[in-house]
Symmetry: C2
Subunit: 634 residues, 2 copies
């Protein structure tokens, strides 16, 4: 099904023209927030060499009264988009070459010996982004007190491309680490990209590496054709994704100013259900991680001496855990599925059409049976759309491969429940606790128990009708020439997205990349070359589509940013004014030169306010605007 | 109740006189074995500098035709025994001082940081034994490939006192390591011996340290009074007892010649049930250590991706383990208690009189209930006399204190069954396997399971009527002035005894030392001073009683030993002939000097056979005896 491209284009054009009209609320809000924005935070970077610019009051910024330059720029972006997509098509060889380069890095984060490879891969990405006018910096992740002095360090890459304060900012999360690959299970070397029958084989092509290469080339094409990106772009590139993104919480907090101006976050996910149509998932699974602690005596005993005398915690633990699930592995906790969102008819049909074959799966895992073996929809529903309970292990007991005679007296069984929209963690916690206590009373246990909610993540679900999702649908639909399917009922499992969503508190987009992975560690991982190129194109298209979304201006953020960092000159460069700027003294002069050259007579600016003007136009109206708020507010 | 000391003495005297009469069988057996004893084993010690003596034929050794010297020596031993026991009484202060010295060493083997302390303690014991004319040597225990070069080394002490080939040899197992002690739970410093109200407080006084000091002083008193021990004595002193006697299997094999001439092994155990009468246990518990392996897929999965799809091994494992025991922690495996030896009426009464108070035990362990809380005999029976099942932990699952999302696909649950006389390991293994398979079929599991017998030790039980036990009863009864109780139905849990019994294959004695320990890690561990002294006395008494037991002569062993080691001169020293022996050349000369000085004219010995004669008298009859075997044997 073809997307009606002309209508979407025209609607965007009209929205573009209406841009100047409804900004008063936004500008007033930004005015208010700017008052509180001068918190004194100690900057840690070397960038502190620059003096901060003067305060920005932001009564009227370019977003409210767009300049001709802005309008021209948008027009140019609009015209250039088809050329960008064509440019992507021409870059096939480069994409493959870059992917081959990426695949070569044995960045297996699970095995610490490959840490150097991961660092090299990260450097490679950092160089690649730096060549695309990105400012990059690395944040070292403290490992643990013992290893913190060991080279190489674990790190995460931050990169940003700043085009204009009037444009929205997209944060792209990428990762370049992969899961281990056993070479003897592969037909080719897992760390060499092999092309065969239109497929690209290599470890990581369907996960972080493939996704990252797509974004890099989408950006490269935009810069080639348009010389500027349609929006501001930021990157976080992780090399510890597969081990749970170590240090994420810390660096998001430490680098909070990096996330200040972010409008949207995008994650590439394997959300396709079949090969026919891309699926745009609008929900994420959550989890609740419980520990059931059973305590007997106040110390460990010896089985030979005390066995038979005391009630043993491990035995009681088995009784308790046993009551959680029945023989068919169905969760026995009452009310657990109360709030689970029901599948809609289209979702049901989607699962029916899924490219999942139980027998293949069983063969590859060497298992005899799956749960709900007979019905594909039930299998997939129980796998993706329903809560499931997994027992992870027992803490405090003897887990080493040796025979000891210890009778453990304090054991914690750990299990997690995968949550799906619209379950609520607090409700689940209550249900589990009540059920456990009930079972304890029924069994009349001689030991004491406690139920802990050790960790949790709320499942997230968002509207499929928002402008953001519509933009994504247009971008994807245009590239694949098929209407993508949106779904809330088939959530995606991507813990990093939950965490970042919780920490950064910005709307997220799940960019469909590839089919849902069947297994955790795929052998002979491969992706169609065509799919790879289409993904790159949809990335490019998404950058374009997002530039037409209405967002808050970034004047206050820039002000805050400047105050925090004092990076006046860097801002110039970020905006594309690639001048050899002499520090401080000649700043204003050079700015005027530029203004007169590029934009002959946009507006008359008084000399004394030039820095403010540079940030938020126009400052000459400042005095009159001071009167206005009292007249206009209500 | 007083032991009739006079009768036992007179019976021993008569048996002593009959010694010469019934030795023909023994000597003939030793003759036969000596033929095969010249196996060529590479000696590893520095002792190889000596040339081996010529072959011993042992047709007539001193045991068959005891010399006057031997008879005199025995008479002297017999007369000296009461003096030895009095000497022990006089040594109270020395015993306490030595114990205080021992307690000071923080030889906590569970914590590797105290390894040096353990080594110092071992050196102290080695010095102490060397001063008592013991030959000592240390055997290094390889830790693991990583730590094998690290100082200090784990080691075990071997010591031997060789008095005569005609005397039996006792192997004493001692250990000097202790369990950790938390100082804040103690009223005094656990590593300082504190005397208060007739009690000696300190870590280890009721276990290895107290036992070892008793033996050392018993030996010291014998040497003081009698100048020789009534029997040959060997020691193994372990510093890794509490961590399972690392390397035991290896060093028993490596030092097999050390165990060649051992007749009996003695272990001190806490076998007393009440404070009234010492209990001599004649049985050891065994154990069977099982691993139930449940395997799902061929690799671990991620709970977020595969949860709800596959049958999870951990859940099935819980179902399986749950079926092993019911809510009351009773073992559900059929026929498990089939062969358990029933308590006799005296044993029942013994348990009834036990100094065990459930409420004290519960208070100290902070537990609310014990199994069979109401009935003391049932509590103790289930604790000591019945099989019990302990679950130790799960291998292959996540046991670290962190939240991971791994869905483990191959897990092994480890549990052990304590075995009591007369259970049979093979039978128990069959019962467990059958039951597990039956449960698997009943549950219709989606995973595959396997039952492994990972480790086992047969329970051991021996006669309470043997001469060995009678000797022990006399020794203990004489000291405590009470008839000790023998029991087979209340076994002792001492894995090291099972292992040594299996490896060395010699009868064992369990020397009653103190009350059965209630807890694994006692706070304020203490023992009555009186008990400590009585134990020392019963050790001294046991050495005496054992010297009257009839054992095989050690001529063949000595021959073998000499062939293996060539330690001619050392043997001299061991026998008490404390000569400065010039090596090789002057050997025969010095021997003759000795003979003529100490024992003026015992028997005329031809010059050429002097070495043989030294080992087994008399060799001048060799020619005639060569004819005899053909005439006499049947």
């Amino acid at each position: 099904m073809k997307v009606k491209r002309s209508t979407s284009h025209s609607s965007r054009r009209s929205s573009m023209r209406a841009m100047g009209s409804t900004r008063s609320v936004l500008s007033r809000r930004s005015q208010r927030t700017s008052r509180h924005s001068r918190t004194s935070v100690r900057a840690t970077d070397e960038e502190l060499n620059f003096e901060p610019p003067t305060k920005c009051h932001c009564q009227r910024c370019q977003m409210r009264f767009p300049t001709q330059q802005m309008i021209d720029e948008r027009e140019r972006t609009f015209k250039n988009e088809p050329a960008v997509l064509r440019a992507v098509d021409d870059q096939v060889d480069d994409v493959i070459q870059d992917l081959a380069q990426m695949v070569k890095f044995k960045s297996v984060s699970v095995e610490p010996k490959f840490l150097l490879e991961s660092c090299l891969a990260l450097d490679w990405v950092a160089n690649r982004l730096a060549n695309l006018k990105f400012k990059t910096y690395e944040h070292l992740i403290p490992d643990d007190p013992v290893n913190c002095f060991r080279e190489p360090h674990q790190k995460v890459l931050f990169a940003r491309y700043f085009s204009s304060p009037t444009k929205p900012t997209l944060l792209i999360y990428g990762h370049l680490d992969v899961l281990p690959a056993k070479p003897d299970c592969w037909l080719s070397d897992p760390f060499e990209l092999v092309l065969k029958d239109g497929l690209a084989y290599g470890r990581g092509v369907t996960s972080g590496k493939g996704m990252l290469v797509g974004w890099i080339h989408a950006i490269e094409c935009w810069l080639q054709v348009n010389e500027d990106l349609p929006i501001n772009v930021k990157f976080i590139v992780d090399m510890l994704h597969e081990v749970g993104s170590t240090g994420l919480q810390d660096y998001v907090r430490a680098k909070s100013d990096f996330f200040l101006d972010v409008d949207y976050m995008v994650f590439d996910v394997n959300s396709w259900v079949n090969n026919d149509r891309p699926v745009i998932a609008c929900s994420l699974t959550g989890w609740a991680y419980f520990g059931v602690e059973v305590r007997g005596a106040n110390k460990s005993l010896e089985s030979g001496l005390a066995g038979g005398l005391v009630f043993e915690p491990m035995i009681d633990l088995c009784h308790l855990m046993n009551s959680l699930v029945n023989d068919e592995h169905e969760i026995q906790i009452p009310r657990i599925e109360n709030n689970v969102r029901r599948l809609t008819t289209p979702e049901w049909h989607l699962l029916e059409s899924a490219g999942f074959r139980a027998y293949e799966y069983k063969e590859e895992l060497y298992v005899r049976r799956l749960r709900h073996d007979a019905n594909k929809v039930e299998v997939l529903q129980s796998r993706w759309c329903k809560p499931s309970l997994t027992m992870h292990g027992v803490e405090g007991a003897d887990s080493r491969p040796a025979c000891t005679r210890i009778l453990p007296m304090q054991v914690v069984s750990k299990f997690s429940i995968r949550l799906v929209p619209d379950q609520d963690v607090e409700q689940i916690h209550c249900a589990v606790r009540e059920y456990m206590m009930q079972i304890r009373n029924e069994l009349n246990l001689g030991t004491s128990i406690a139920v802990h909610l050790i960790d949790y993540m709320e499942p997230i679900c968002w509207s499929t009708e928002s402008k953001l999702i519509k933009a994504l649908m247009r971008a994807v639909g245009e590239v694949y020439q098929k209407d993508p399917i949106t779904t809330q009922g088939i959530p995606v499992c991507l813990p990093i997205a939950n965490v970042l969503c919780k920490l950064v508190k910005k709307p997220i987009i799940l960019m469909p990349f590839y089919k849902r992975r069947d297994r955790h560690q795929q052998e002979n991982e491969c992706i169609e070359e065509d799919n790879l190129m289409r993904h790159t194109k949809s990335c490019a298209s998404l950058l374009f589509e997002l530039s037409f979304l209405r967002t808050k201006c970034k004047c206050d953020v820039i002000n805050k940013y400047c105050n925090l960092r004092g990076v006046k000159e860097k801002l110039d460069a970020d905006r594309g004014y690639d001048l050899p700027v002499p520090p401080k003294r000649n700043l204003l002069v050079s700015f005027f030169k530029l203004k007169h050259k590029e934009n002959p007579a946009p507006m008359k600016a008084p000399k004394r306010n030039s820095v403010k003007k540079f940030l938020c136009f126009p400052f000459k109206m400042k005095k009159s605007s001071k009167k206005r708020p009292s007249a206009a507010p209500k």
